[in-house]
């Protein structure tokens, strides 16, 4: 933690960055919240521990934050992967953000370029964890009706607050499809169809892009397992198309590429 504060102070004093985006203690002890250190003094409030799991990269897309000038970003792995995907999607130019990764040993690694981030991530484990896999298999094994019942119950709790959208680093569209009303793709009210369509469209729009930072599920006030929808598509996209979003700046979005011999068994 001291290391982090020291580094943050140094960066701000040297003027390398205008703001350090990190974590500070939240209003309740369980939680840490995002914190924007603009000057050397404020760096004292920076913390880094188990509570710091939020993907801060999301803030980089906010105009207010962009206006602050070059930022140093305290990154959990999910955030690092986000930076890669931002690069792929033309949202972030190289060297406009300085990533700060904190190792388990507590030392702060400075990653000034995308290349460095890519290298750093290369050493990290990829793909879904065994637990995530098992959870998908569990639901897949349910009979059709039960699967539908499970999701009907889950989605029934959705209040269309779009916290998932706000928390997702890749939901950065200035206009979301839900805001389109000619035609009204997604019914406004939180009725069964609206909830189903919103959650399907959210998952599909993240298919082949989701870096599995977990922010969406964490943000959901109803605790709906929307992360499963991302996981099932991530598993499919990587199995079928070798998609590994978040690990490279190479542009190979599974849905805007193809192989003439992509395999499927369902098209007659």
């Amino acid at each position: 933690m001291e290391a982090l504060q020291k580094k943050a102070r140094a960066l701000l004093e040297a003027g390398t960055v205008k703001v350090v985006i990190g974590y500070t203690a939240g209003t309740d002890v369980e939680r840490a919240r995002a914190f924007f250190a603009r000057n050397a003094e404020q760096t004292q409030q920076l913390i880094f521990d188990a509570r710091c799991c939020q993907n801060l990269a999301t803030y980089l897309m906010k105009p207010e934050v962009k206006a602050l000038g070059k930022a140093a970003l305290v990154c959990v792995p999910g955030a690092l992967r986000t930076l890669m995907q931002y690069a792929v999607e033309n949202q972030l130019a190289d060297e406009t953000v300085l990533a700060l990764a904190v190792t388990d040993a507590g030392e702060v690694v400075e990653l000034p370029k995308f290349a460095a981030v890519e290298e750093y991530l290369a050493k990290m484990p990829r793909g879904l964890t065994p637990e995530q896999q098992q959870e998908l298999d569990r639901i897949d094994k349910l009979p059709l009706e039960e699967r539908w019942a499970f999701w009907a119950a889950e989605l029934a709790r959705c209040v269309k607050c779009y916290a998932c959208r706000a928390a997702c680093p890749l939901c950065y569209c200035s206009r979301c499809i839900t805001d389109v009303n000619q035609p009204q793709w997604v019914p406004v009210a939180s009725d069964p169809l609206g909830n189903l369509e919103w959650n399907v469209v959210r998952a599909m729009h993240l298919a082949g892009r989701c870096v599995d930072c977990g922010s969406c599920a964490d943000a959901c006030p109803e605790g709906i397992r929307i992360d499963l929808l991302n996981h099932v598509l991530a598993r499919e996209a990587s199995a079928h198309f070798g998609a590994e979003p978040g690990y490279s700046t190479r542009k190979d979005y599974a849905l805007s590429a193809y192989k003439p011999d992509d395999k499927e068994e369902f098209i007659r």
């Binding site: 897949d140 699967r147 406004v188 169809l193 599909m204 298919a207 499963l228 099932v232 849905l255 369902f266």
Partner: protein
């Protein structure tokens, strides 16, 4: 009471399947009248949201059909579409949507008979399944597309 007659919506590309269905007509091959065709330039144009819409509007089954791989009038539209369907289909399967009501096919401009057979089979299958009651419908009061001047 009369037997349930399913509503099936077919999203087809203009160059292969729509033309194939034209051939079904010119060859006077009969098939079930339960299908309503939506003509689009290419399967690549078919947004997965349209499929949900169709069900939301009360369709009991959906057909998506276009050119065979390699035959796309736009060279690659159907390849992109195929990837989209692979993922979309997996997702709705995972969510418990009934895949027996969602059918994908390649029907070329020369396959008039295949088109007739496809429609009849799908309609029969969906008829057996009955109306898709469990799928949520677009409620009245939801804004319908506005009347334009």
């Amino acid at each position: 009471m009369a037997e349930f007659e399913p509503k099936v919506v077919a999203f087809v590309c203009n160059w292969c399947t729509y033309a194939g269905a034209d051939l079904t007509g010119t060859s006077r091959i009969k098939y079930s009248p339960n299908v309503r065709m939506i003509r689009l330039p290419c399967t690549g144009r078919i947004d997965f949201m349209l499929l949900l819409q169709a069900f939301g509007q009360g369709a009991d089954g959906v057909i998506v059909s276009g050119c065979h791989p390699g035959d796309c009038h736009y060279t690659a539209g159907n390849f992109h579409a195929r990837r989209r369907w692979i993922l979309f289909r997996r997702l709705i399967e995972f969510m418990g949507i009934d895949l027996r009501r969602v059918h994908f096919a390649w029907v070329s401009a020369a396959e008039g008979a295949k088109w007739a057979e496809l429609v009849t089979n799908v309609v029969d299958e969906v008829r057996k399944l009955g109306p898709y009651q469990s799928f949520p419908k677009r409620l009245d009061g939801q804004p319908k597309p506005v009347e334009v001047a």
